[in-house]
Structures are given as C-alpha cells and as structure tokens.
Symmetry: C2
Subunit: 329 residues, 2 copies
C-alpha cells in the first residue's frame, strides 16, 4: 500500500498568509485527517506551527502583483514554485495556493506540465447554486483567446470534474453564448457548438447554448466558455451578489425597526449566504495539468483553505488525473 | 419654427402589445405632452385608442421569434418596418419598439441607415446604479465580433449618449476586460486600449480597463465592450439580481415572523428595487443609426413605454443625432 502523500500548501500565498493558511491546514488535519506540507520560510512558519504539520523550507515568496512568468522563472526557491515541484517529484498529492493566480498557473504549467494531449489547461470555478450542486464553469480566465478544439477539451475535462466532485453520472454541458439557438454567438462558439453536437459517444450530454442569466438557474452542470468571457461573467456575478448583500445590510441597518427585522431574517439569510459563499467551495482548479493544482481566492480565510484541502483530498482519492487522461485521449 | 414631430411607436411589438404599449403612449401624452403615432393594425388599435393619439396603419407584424433580416425584408407593411420609414421620411422624430430586437435593429439599419462614418451601430444599455446616474454599456449585443476601430467609435458614441442623457460633461470611459492593467485582456481589448490611450483631444476621459465586478460600482460612466461579452455581462447581471430578489422574497415569506419583517423592510426595499428596475430606464438605444431608434424590453409594461417615450423626446430635443455626427467625424 502506498503511503498517503501530504498536500503541498503554499504557506506564504494569499492576503492572510501565513496565519490563516496554517490555521486552515491545522483544522483540515485535526478534523479530517488531511495532511499538509507547509511550504514557506521556516523561520516565519515556526511562529505559527509547532510540530503538528510538516514544513518544507522555501526562502522566497511571490507577491500578488509580480509578473507571473518572470517571477516563476526567477524565484526558483519561492514557495509557489516549490509546491509545484513537490507534486512533480511525487512527494505531494496536490498543490494549493491562495497567492498570485497567474504565477500559480505558470508554476503548474512549467513545473508540473500538461496532461499529454491537452492543448491548454483551463481554470474551472464552481459557482454555488442554492438547493443544487454547484455549476462548473471553465475557462474562468486562463486563456483570454481560445480555439474551438480547446473548448471541446474544456467540455470533456469539466464534465469529468463535475462527475468526480458532485457525482453526476452524465453531466449536462452547455456553451455560454448570447442566445439559445445554435446560430447565436461569435464564430468560436458556433464552431464549438457544431463540434460538440456532432461528437459521438460523449460521456456528457451537450445541451447547447445558455445565456448569462442561466448561470444561477441550474440548467447546466458545466458551462464552457473562453477565458475572457468566463472571467467577465464570473466577476459580474461576484460583483452583483456582493452589491446586493451590501445594499440589503444597509437597508436592514436603517433604524431600530429595520434592525429588528434583520434579527429575524438573518437566521434565514445566513444559511443561504453561506451556501453562496465562494469560501465554501474550495477554490478553482487548473484542469489539464498533470497533477492537482488548486488556486484559492487571495482573500482566503482558514475556512477557505480547509475547504480547498478537502477538495484536493477528495479529487486525489477519486484519481481525477487518471480520469482526465482517459477523457481527453 | 418646425412643428413638433410625434414618435413612431410600434404598437404591435412586445409581449403585452398593443394594450400596454397604447397605455404607455397615452400616459406620455397626458402627463408629459409627448405625442406618439401608433403604428399597427388600425382595426385592432381602434379597440384601445379612440381619438387621443394618431394612428398609422400597418397590416403586418413581426413575431418575437422570426428571423430578423428575413422578416424585415419580406414584411414590408409590418409595424416595425413602417416605424423606421416614418423616421427616415421625416414624419417622426424617433422609433420605439418592444418587439423582436434583431428585427428592430435590421429595420433601423436597412430603412434609416447609419450615420455617415459609423462602421457599426451598437446597442447601448443603461445599467441602473444606486445613488448615481446609470452606467452606459455598449455594445450590448448588436455585434458578436468587433474590430478595435469600432470599439473606439463605441467609446465616442457612448460618451455623447452619457453626456446628453445624464449631463456628464466629460464622461469617464472604460473598457471591459479581465484585469486593470493595459496588458490584460484579449488582443481586441489590448489594441483598443492603445488607440484610446493615444487619442488626442478626447471629449471624454479614458480611465482604462474595468472588470465585471465594477459594473455596479460607479467607477465609469461608459463601459465599452464587444457585443458578445457585453450581452453575456448584461444578462449575468440581470440574472443575478433577479435570483437575489426571488431568494429574498422566498425567505421573507417563510412564516408569520418573517412576513412581519417583510412588512417593515419592503418600505425601504421597494424604492431601491424601483431604482434598479430596467423598466424605469427606458430601454436600449441603437447608437450609430441616423435617427433615434429605441429598443424596449419584450416584457415592457405601460410604464416602460412611457419611460422610453420620455427618453426619445429628451434625446430628440438635445439633437443627439447631430452630436453623434460631430463626435464620429
């Protein structure tokens, strides 16, 4: 029996690193027996972690605003780069970072590499749907310009991810477009529509185009898009939900009467807000990399890190990389 | 002094036509002295309108799901086509339809034509911002694929529209992208960024890129995008606000206690909901057409039609077409 490998956790990445990152790792170990290897400056880590979890020294770290490719190339002893190497050399089962997204992508791509046959890895995000399993949307920003063959692979990979994470046996896959008819959209979407419709023996059901308003409607399990459109849609969604929450809290804090109403409603609002909270979904995954690489939100709290560790553990146990290899070849 | 021309109103267009359309026209006349010419089947219109407003007979109408170009070409006596002709021949000051959006665009393009020098007309929508004037976003769906020169014109035209409608002397214009830096985005956006940044003597301020999350933030007065991305963003925004409203109403209807809280909060929520209601903003405008052409939501109520008529009247009085001609030439 193979020894269980720890998850390589970028302890220096994110707005609240290393404190929240380490706290999340501790919780994942204590409550779910998921082991992390904390990668970062050991002198700093020693303040936060005393013997519960293993550490791996990395003398450098990559800041949020550093150039992704350049920083990965130049900072060979950065926590992010070391995390990727620990996956590549078989020491760790997955890598998680809440740091610089572009650098995490570059590290995964340069140090772990692509699954054979994959043209371009994509960022798959999970959009929480009230009363349903989350929607998988990809690409959410790795590739600002795409070709139709890449989008076909995104459909294949997103479908595997939806199956593995949410137990959907034959996920419904849709293309994000500007009308439901196959003739609606830009040339990329029309071409991809044709290819997906004609594909035989698909392990997923291609349900055609969906529109922006369908992203919270639970009509699809997987929504495929180029990284530019996907990123705009995702941030529009995040922005509008944040705006609405803020507006509602403002209104509920108007006076004593509204505050009383707030006391009543919060009991019902909080579970829903909790369900919609991106922190609970465990971050985005880079699909197409030959190893599990999870990118968490820069503002990740301990809770978000624990979620990400649980997702990494689950995906590893389900052999998602093996299943992705089958799907694209 | 030139006689005041009426607005050509497609009385047969929209989910609630002709009833709501006619009701909206009556209200605009009675309350704001804005005159409409009701275009549609006079036998049907006679049931709804008895002598207050003028009518213009059109024997055909174009359904919501008809092919835009084909229906405009074949249904020469349709209300939509007649409306466009009434603007072209100088009988009416503007055309408004809540019918088939694509057909309204085709009718405007084929029958009224473009402003000289305009490469492609764009759909400009106004996104309500709480506590601020609305944001103008274009293109919201006319052109699924764009060139950078067209986007530069969208910036010029959107800026005129923001000035005329909201009195902004030097509108802040932004590009919708996936990061604030000029290097972020797809080739179209990067190229347009360069052109807008280098443009001299602009009547607007180019503030660079904004992201999807900034659409409700009042950072820009005008957001420029290709019609594919713009349509996805707009529908994502509409979908998420609708989702949130529905969720909130569900929660507030849980039991007697939450219903009491609802009674308190609705007094504060309704004014905000009202401010966010697309019905209040008067529909989208086709910028770049050599005449005022307003496209209202298919689900337009009388209130939405009245708003659209007020916008048409205001834009006509401000000579928006003359100002657009100056801006692009």
């Amino acid at each position: 029996m193979a020894a269980v490998m720890p998850v390589a956790l970028d302890a220096m990445g994110g707005d609240f690193a290393p404190k929240e990152v380490v706290a999340g790792a501790k919780k994942a170990f204590e409550e779910y027996s998921i082991e992390s290897l904390l990668v970062g400056d050991e002198a700093i880590l020693a303040e936060f972690e005393k013997g519960l979890l293993g550490t791996f020294h990395a003398s450098e770290s990559i800041a949020m605003d550093e150039d992704p490719a350049k920083s990965v190339r130049n900072k060979k002893d950065s926590s992010l780069v070391r995390c990727a190497e620990l996956v590549k050399n078989g020491t760790c089962s997955a890598t998680i970072s809440a740091g610089n997204t572009g650098a995490a992508m570059a590290a995964a791509l340069f140090k772990i590499g692509r699954i054979k046959g994959v043209s371009r890895p994509a960022i798959a995000t999970t959009i929480p749907i009230v009363g349903n399993h989350p929607l998988v949307m990809l690409d959410s920003g790795a590739n600002a310009e795409c070709q139709s063959d890449w989008l076909v692979q995104f459909a294949q990979m997103g479908s595997v991810y939806s199956s593995v994470r949410y137990g959907i046996s034959k996920p419904k896959v849709a293309l994000l477009s500007i009308g439901e008819e196959p003739t609606k959209g830009n040339p990329l979407i029309k071409e991809t529509h044709k290819k997906l419709a004609e594909m035989e023996n698909k392990p997923f059901e291609f349900i055609g185009n969906v529109e922006g308003r369908d992203l919270l409607n639970a009509v699809a399990d997987v929504v495929v898009t180029d990284g530019f459109t996907g990123n705009v849609a995702l941030k529009t969604l995040e922005g509008s939900l944040k705006f609405f929450m803020k507006m509602l809290l403002n209104i509920m804090n108007t006076n004593d009467e509204t505050k009383k109403a707030q006391d009543v409603l919060l009991n019902y609002l909080l579970p829903v807000a909790n369900e919609l909270d991106p922190e609970a979904t465990g971050g985005a995954i880079l699909l197409g990399i030959d190893g599990i690489s999870i990118i968490s939100h820069g503002s990740s709290s301990a809770r978000a890190i624990t979620s990400a560790l649980r997702v990494a553990d689950e995906l590893n146990k389900a052999d998602i990389i093996g299943r992705l290899k089958e799907a694209v070849n």
